[in-house]
Symmetry: D2
Subunit: 88 residues, 4 copies
DNA sequence: TTAGGCTATCCGCTAC
DNA sequence: GTAGCGGATAGCCTAA
């Protein structure tokens, strides 16, 4: 048997058990936080919807705000050209 | 031993082996076809790019063509309203 | 007006319309084929389910078959070691 | 001009601007928090890797821990049956 | 009305 | 740095 007391710093099959467990649990804790934030976001959009906003459009706006204005401009111009070419 | 000859209609662990194998292989074959088509699509866009087209914009156009014109109109109107409201 | 007859090889806003349209339509056609295959796959799994097979497990098997046996073995060994270390 | 002072509770195109802006900014803030946590998770796995752990296996363990033990057992049993049937 | 499956979207990862 | 890939998630729609 290992010289370590069971449950602390023990090594099983060449694995540092406590370290491994720590990594796993920290990951899970962070995951839980992300999940909670995701829940908040969902609530937020529910409220927006209840206020009469269109959620899809809000998300579209948020996506636009992530881009440089010049990039938006450029892409919209190009799209317009293609649409005109196709008669859309 | 089963009365069936090995390899045909045998049952292992309550599983009809040949039937199972057939389902799996047919799935894999279909998957392979999808993959091949995906390759064709990739080639197609490479050619378009070589012809000077903007692939991102083409994909955007394709997405637009999947929607009803009235739906496009509606969403663009809404987006415009929101953008104006936000001074974008 | 362009010297080209309308609808053939015309250029609008610097865009070779017919070429663009061709790329788009070929892409859409390929997409449609992919969709059809996806439908076949869906039917296939419905049949498997009706035959009493577990669809989730079949999909798992298919995923395994994509990997090298040595890779499967290696990963399962590692997973076992970790599970034992954690008392799972 | 609206009776509201500019920049507060104003309505543009029938849109309650400040409310909309608030929803958007709160969403973006939450997004930023999620992104930060994602970064922490990435760091965590880098550390685990540096400690000699296999990241893929750790993630697998984490996925297992999300499931009920009975569910794991059930799925593994089924998978085993299918694999044996197929001679894998 | 609720549960389940399907689709579309998004994210991180990986391989080039 | 980019594109394809796989996994996860949310919303939609159907069927019970």
């Amino acid at each position: 048997m290992s010289a370590d007391m069971q449950g602390h710093n023990s090594v099983v099959g060449g694995i540092a058990v406590e370290k491994l467990r720590s990594y796993i649990e920290r990951w899970e804790r962070l995951d839980e936080e992300k999940r909670a934030i995701g829940g908040d976001q969902k609530d937020l959009m529910s409220m927006a919807k209840a206020d009469g906003f269109d959620v899809r459009t809000i998300k579209h706006i948020i996506a636009l705000r992530k881009k440089e204005p010049s990039e938006i401009e450029e892409q919209e111009t190009l799209l317009d050209i293609y649409r005109r070419a196709l008669g859309m």
